[in-house]
Symmetry: D3
Subunit: 263 residues, 6 copies
């Protein structure tokens, strides 16, 4: 993956020229700094969303903005909980404000399509609100045909890929924290960051249907992972990555091309 | 359903006495004011969460607080979108602030277990943040063994019930807006509020995997419903209601009783 | 009082049709959850403002929005104080935000006249600010001749009615908390919610001219009422209700009709 | 009035010594920058509340903090409206934040009794909220027997004085904007700031019982005054001033001395 | 210095007439309430910025708005630190909000040029943000050629004056807190507020290159001054004052006149 | 520079072990996304502060947190202005909130010394406020001897180095935007990101002593640089880097070791 999709590597004059001559899409990867078990680094979510974003950007000729390195609070049912050491989170108001500020600025600069590519489940609704608040300050004339999109990359992994990655049946995204998906992707995209010798085993965590605060710490497995990365390989990571990147790129291209879409 | 579970019907002296003598649970129903198609009223979510809360409260000897009659913005993929007439929403900051204020006050008054029972998908994360912010202002000593819970009532509908209600297969909660679940429940709980002669038909809406803002209005079906309430009956409503109420009550009772839970 | 004035009972399609064909007024009742002595329920303010709103709406062909069930903090001099069990309040920022969000949304939907009908003294200034902030986001063109109104229902009780209700002289609204006005209205409008056998007696509370925080709890009477409901009857309640409803309806109709009002 | 009651004229070392040796009261005058008709200056409210505060402080040995020179938005029914040139206001959030910050700081420095002396009707509820929010950050131990008070100076003008100042009957505080009270006080306390040759005449304004936003500008009298200052004299100003100052000082002294007040 | 430059001494009708007939500039002095050693009053910054503003306003025919009597938190390296008794500060959000509200209101009233004249180092960035936020709510058409300026008065003291005031070399503005500049200016402008017999001596404070929080209190000199006012005289104060006032007035006049400035 | 100082590369279990056994310092680099002329990339500030932080961390055994990739608004006098394409900024409230959230979380996790290493002038005061707000939520006991530091790396470049880098005299940091310092550092630390063939020449920009908003765009040089990078070389970059890294490391080590520092 070449580095020339990264916005922070461009100089301002080159960017200005491109914005004047192209309908540019900008992808903002959104991650977290969050415990991911003993075998994956704290920055897993930001690394993965950045890599997926770069893959998509290369296919589309889009740019990738600096990632959100910190995300909304880890919740016990999707990330083990915000009480764990290493997990370093922003409050809702901060995620919303950051999103709003950036959407406002990027829209003013002239980007056509601004895509938040989410890699940390808990962020989603706060990114949505930040996008919506930013748009409040533009009237229709100012906005023209520009718009924002929000997606989580795992929603683009297809059924077929799931079947290959999880031969015993897909257990659901809800307990995929430090599990097969993230571990396989990291093995493919950043193998030196993974230590499979420390990977936890055992059955998936069984958590209540409710969220409780303060959390009952004992409900989170000692490893911090909600399911074990048993069977995660770089090959599966490549499969997952290629599938998600292709599907996202196809969807974004379609949306950009769809002149018939009435705003 | 008798009215004596409703907090706003109690006088303050009676409440004070109960709080001094019981470990009281308080359920706060959370709804919205949102279009639900031509056959269901705008207040559907608040009505349903209030009815479910009352059913649970009766089983547990708990109280039901006044519902949130307004919720977070309707999103196109789960509620048709916030642009539709009748849909009247609060911003994230407002939902969070309201939740925080109420949790803070109810905890100070001495309630043991405060449960947000959600009936509008979009609310969830903002209720969570409000709960979390409220707890920041209590230290461990002040809080003791009191805590807050958050749940969505549909998560408690069992597989078996789903199979009965959706004989052709359950299509997923994501397009259940103004569809079989809500319509059946309303037919059971508030039949005079439903006009089945206006119920829309046709296939379920097919929406993108991303959220787009501003929304492409044409992507929401004319009816505002994401799936048709075909086959919704009061009997199915009763089935759904009884199942959800029983399961929630059982779960809350278990949590209250679980003296072994380490905080 | 028929239920067809209540917005949450309408479906979205019917509302859309009415907004396209009428200059609709919408009344938002504003209450509180606040101790009202041993004889009145915590929800008194929301119940009364809702009933008054419904009475007015029927006369005008207006709609009644879901009430604010929670209000601003109870102050010692007007409601006994925010420290009392049962009193569950919102902070100023929350009341303002809620008001702002709703005014913004209802104006966008096309309501002509949006009226906050207040039933809890402490709310007034925060509702005002919320209205004002909402209007900041509309320019003159967008707003057209639409506007918002704010009133407290007791300001519409006439001199003559006061003389009948308080034969020994009207003591002033400031100590009317759980006193004759509210008790009589509740006896008329929701008799099963009142327990006159628990009504406190004795002279009215004498409170300082200043507000002190933290409050000196002993300054609030044990009952929580600032004056006794001596002599409150359902008949007086009817008198008060009919007078307030008629006067408010007349005033709103006049304002709607006054084409000469220069904005 | 000597200047040695003014906190901003003290050096920090002297203040530190006094706080270590005395139970110091601090009065914060609260005004506005608001049109007060053609005969009174924009700063009337801040000037009057500062002068009253200084008079009280001299009697009590208290200090006077720098005044709030700007207040909450002028409302049509009490100040003519916020749309008038010269009227320069803060939003609710700003008044609240300012109040909270100052109460927090002054309490930490060790003042015993912090009194907001209000001279602009619209401020009251926002000062109250700021006080309350500040107190949230102190626990009982940190606070000890220190507290805050809030009052409006006109509430301390006695019946007898009113009878002398308004020989034809007191019309009520609500239309006292640029009227007899403020004009007489200014003639006594800052005569060079008043130009009686420009004073408006005519009957008092008759305003609706509701607040309307946006305001109907034509409802505010051309002068900006809600009642005429007919008959205002420096003598009446002295009477009003002396009465209010004495009554406030007496009340504050009593509150300071009342060791029996249970917090 | 005559008082007729002060906005709060004007009546609203006179102001309205001037705004209709002149391109009026308005200077808002910004100070603090902050310890300034044993020889200078807490209000030094507000007094000095007000006096400088008045001097400039007289030269330009501008007006002076009521000063900000409270500023952002004192920092150890520029003001000794916020922990010292007497130092009474606003948080960043409050300074920003206050600035935003006032700029918004003054621009709407029709002032052409709004200048914040800062006298407390720590305020600068927060005033800037408040100005910027206020401008967000005006579009180009509404704003026309009106604008806001922000400056600190000491930046206008010329090299030559510095050489005269500091014959042994200018030590830098960073440790000028309660030192020669402020003391000399106060001796010239408000001699009765200075007690040179209490002025501290000794070498200037040596503080780290970083800011540390919580502060190490012992790093602030006992006096609270970061450098001694040795050699400060009223004559030097006059020199400093006249130089700053002339330079600021010249700069503002040039900016007002510069028709060639493309916005 | 090895990557093992980067927190996001660590797994949570390793971090937990280190925090239990060491007094760990954590450096948070703070940058911006801001135009830096035609020869430097938009991400210059974040890259430089991250590299300096890594250098310091290696010397101290500290960790480096994910950088702030976005900073406060670019100001014309220090960065050319926030209106330029490519410059993508956060508002004050967002920078403050982000800082507050992270300090709170990192302190709770157990870091001993948290250092913000700033590389974008405009950020400083907002980082300070965020640090201060975070500390408000800890009492002395909770905090123990842990603390936060804030510094800008250029303040650690020594006189001697300046003399070598600027043989014709150091022009002052204020116009060092895209000039010799940043260009030389980038040539040393990230040469492939610099294109000296596009470097602007000419004299330094001369900007007014005030800040004006809205900015007069023509006052910013076409290049966006406030001074030319004439004579910037990788050698000078190494000199600057080594000097700053050594000086910062020495200062932090001293502060950590200084057991005599009374908090």
């Amino acid at each position: 993956m070449s580095s020339n999709v990264f916005l922070d590597q461009l100089d301002a004059h080159t960017l200005r020229d491109r914005l004047e001559n192209e309908k540019l899409a900008l992808i903002i990867p959104v991650g977290s700094l969050e415990q991911h078990g003993p075998h994956l680094p704290l920055g897993t979510d930001a690394m993965l969303s950045t890599k997926v974003a770069a893959g998509v950007a290369e296919k589309l000729g889009a740019l990738v903005a600096p990632a959100f390195a910190y995300g909304y609070k880890s919740q016990q049912k999707s990330g083990g909980g915000n009480h764990l050491v290493g997990t370093t989170s922003l409050s809702a108001a901060t995620v919303i404000a950051q999103t709003k500020d950036l959407v406002t600025s990027y829209l003013k600069q002239g980007f056509q399509q601004i895509i938040f590519l989410n890699g940390h489940y808990e962020n989603y609704q706060f990114l949505y609100e930040g996008m919506d608040l930013a748009l409040e300050s533009f009237n229709k004339e100012q906005l023209g045909d520009r718009y924002t999109l929000l997606l989580s990359y795992w929603d683009y992994v297809g059924e077929e890929t799931l079947a290959q990655v999880y031969p015993n049946g897909f257990p659901g995204w809800d307990i995929e924290h430090g599990g097969v998906l993230e571990t396989a992707l990291m093995l493919h995209l950043s193998p030196h960051s993974v230590d499979m010798s420390r990977a936890p085993g055992g059955p998936a965590a069984v958590l209540p249907k409710f969220d409780r605060l303060p959390v009952v710490a004992a409900r989170t497995p000692q490893s911090g992972c909600l399911s074990a990365p048993d069977g995660a390989t770089a090959e599966k990571g490549k499969l997952l990555y290629d599938d998600a990147v292709s599907a996202i790129a196809a969807d974004l291209a379609l949306e950009l091309a769809d002149a018939a879409v009435a705003v």
